[in-house]
Symmetry: C2
Subunit: 195 residues, 2 copies
């Protein structure tokens, strides 16, 4: 059942999408109808959705889902964890033979949406994991997002595309050095509580 | 700014509460009015809430918030990360001098609420971290909750009190062996999508 650590570079994201609205079911269903998930494996239950596949497609689908849901104008939150290289992972349930062209970028790029995001990187199995985190947090400061420190997380504010670029690149750089990496994120858009 | 690893046993929980309802603001405010948070440090912004203090109070407050929100009958989700021993943590913003009596257990224990929960334990900085995870996952099976495996997480189904007992005990046992531990969780109650 277990792979050798790091041989499989399947990326997964376990997330939940929460529209704070009586119409949450319609918003979730209409969002899913807008997003092309054919290049990732996907499973949804009452707690969360899991998508798995190549890194580029997992980030593409996650971003598109949040953007299309937030584009309804409702207060929408999305929470989840990206993961790669878990020694307990299997080869199953991944679509690793897809081409690298993301399917949702074309439609998503026209959606402009401001959001707040808190994220935390967890490089696993290394004693010097904090150094690897700090390297990436410094790197985030060069992007087109406002970066602030909070307890247990780094906060990013800006356009959702820029936020996802920062998340994607931080995750990508750390997993090049550390086999098993997880990254938690909490996104919020259209909150009546402005920062 | 940084502590020596493990000297401070401040527990924190960064979480967000999501009632899937037009009345989300009222539900959140009424929930907070029902929960006594005076034994934890607390800060809320538009993305999430952070509470910090002794382990017993952080778990007591987190459970009470979820229970009181779910008790409205609305579909409610709560996502977050418990953390202890982060080498980047500070001594600030913690109420470590409180007595050990939890303030919300008396009122919370009368609330019976079924929920689903996915959680993941991340013992940091150790090469044998998977063994420490597996030890706890085995231990969970002895509790009064249904335990199933999913990608990247363990699912617990049952009464919210039993779920929190399992979370609390797993976290407590792992942090006795590993200085820096984080634990992510996603809770869902009253979902129209039954499992």
């Amino acid at each position: 059942m277990r792979n050798n650590c790091g041989t499989s570079r399947i990326v997964g994201c376990q997330f939940s999408l929460h529209p704070m609205s009586d119409n949450f079911v319609d918003i979730i269903l209409s969002t899913l109808s807008e997003v092309d998930t054919s290049k990732v494996w996907k499973e949804t239950d009452d707690v969360s959705t899991c998508i798995r596949g190549k890194m580029i497609h997992v980030f593409d689908v996650a971003k598109a889902i949040f953007l299309h849901a937030a584009n309804t104008g409702e207060h929408v939150a999305m929470n989840g964890t990206f993961s790669i290289g878990c020694p307990g992972d299997t080869e199953a349930d991944a679509y690793m033979d897809e081409t690298d062209t993301p399917l949702n970028e074309e439609k998503a790029k026209s959606i402009l949406q401001i959001a707040g995001c808190k994220f935390s990187l967890y490089p696993m199995g290394h004693e010097d994991y904090m150094d690897k985190i700090y390297e990436q947090i410094n790197l985030s400061k060069h992007r087109n997002v406002t970066v602030t420190s909070t307890h247990y997380a780094t906060r990013l504010d800006g356009d959702v595309h820029d936020i996802f670029n920062a998340l994607h690149e931080s995750f990508k750089l750390v997993q090049e050095k550390v086999s098993h990496v997880t990254m938690t994120f909490s996104l919020s858009a259209n909150s009546p509580t402005t920062k």
